[in-house]
Symmetry: C2
Subunit: 201 residues, 2 copies
């Protein structure tokens, strides 16, 4: 009974991460009721995402001119150390790390790790891409930080990647693990507390 | 540090109901990584909502030609009783009621009720619109069903609307209230059980 444009909208939006059928339906009516100007603005917000480019080195997004070597702001920044590389799953992980202002190296966006415990083909391509960048530089990376989530699957993938990249870096590390700063020992779960003990420093 | 198109996208999408900053950010990167074809399809899904029309009688959406009197499928259906009107807050409430296939009247989309306990100006316009439709018909409505949510605010608004519309209908009713079908008395909350007792039939 719903008009085609609404059905289409619901189909497409309910397939997006974190949006179910019910929310997609509410979004459709919200937009319709918000009026033509709002719909136009929302349309433009989506279509403008198509104008973004992907960095040829780390695969993060950017808008720099092609004359820039198709590099993102981080990779194009001469002040960043190219021989210290953090491998992250998602762009949002990169953003979180950048927010700390404590990392002066560059990144590789690896893509979400699979729960099958295998590295997917696009991820293999990205690792090979990193290897050839390191080879081109003429020396091993000083450090590769595997900034994957500290979950079972993150750990599994980290050990696979560590083996793959071992010949290409002097040091391969992971992010520190333990009780969150500001947290309380009493409320830490057993696994976190155990890890904090083992990784004491 | 995020490119403009992403910041704009996040701003617009995080203002939509049920979408926060974090989810808007994830949606942006999800769309960017899903490729140009997907972005185009999503763009079209949003912009096509702008082609929908609003029914001149009940304010539901439709795509019928103007020659049809700008009526939605329900209002244009000669088989539906125009003298039995269900007042609903949202389009999604109308859809839920239609799904029961048990209502043969027409609707009025009232808009979300405010928590200030007052009827907003657009809602006043819609009530006046309903009054004039009833006047035009030459006789009182047989029944007006106030299908608002059974919440404190729904109850408050229902009593205000009931007073407003009393001269225009032989009967003003609300939806039945009590233990959900398939539910168990043991697990009903006190308020629901109390209402079920009071409204026994």
């Amino acid at each position: 009974m719903l008009p085609d444009p609404i059905q289409k909208f619901i189909k497409i939006f309910s397939a997006l991460p974190g949006i179910g059928l019910r929310q997609a339906t509410r979004l459709a009516f919200h937009l319709i009721n918000s009026g033509k100007t709002n719909i136009d603005e929302t349309t433009r917000a989506v279509s403008d995402l198509g104008r973004l480019k992907i960095c040829s080195q780390c695969f993060f997004v950017h808008q720099n001119p092609a004359s820039n070597g198709n590099l993102c702001d981080i990779c194009a920044n001469a002040g960043r150390r190219k021989d210290i590389i953090a491998i992250v799953e998602r762009e949002t992980d990169l953003i979180s790390l950048e927010r700390t202002k404590k990392f002066k190296g560059v990144y590789l966006i690896f893509g979400e790790i699979s729960k099958a415990g295998v590295i997917e083909s696009i991820q293999k391509l990205r690792l090979n891409h990193l290897k050839s960048l390191i080879k081109q530089s003429g020396k091993k990376a000083e450090e590769i930080i595997l900034a994957l989530n500290p979950t079972t699957y993150g750990d599994l993938n980290a050990s696979i990647i560590a083996k793959e990249l071992a010949p290409f870096a002097d040091k391969i590390s992971r992010l520190g693990r333990g009780i969150p700063t500001g947290g309380e020992i009493e409320f830490a779960d057993d696994q976190t507390l155990g890890d904090a003990l083992e990784r004491r420093n």
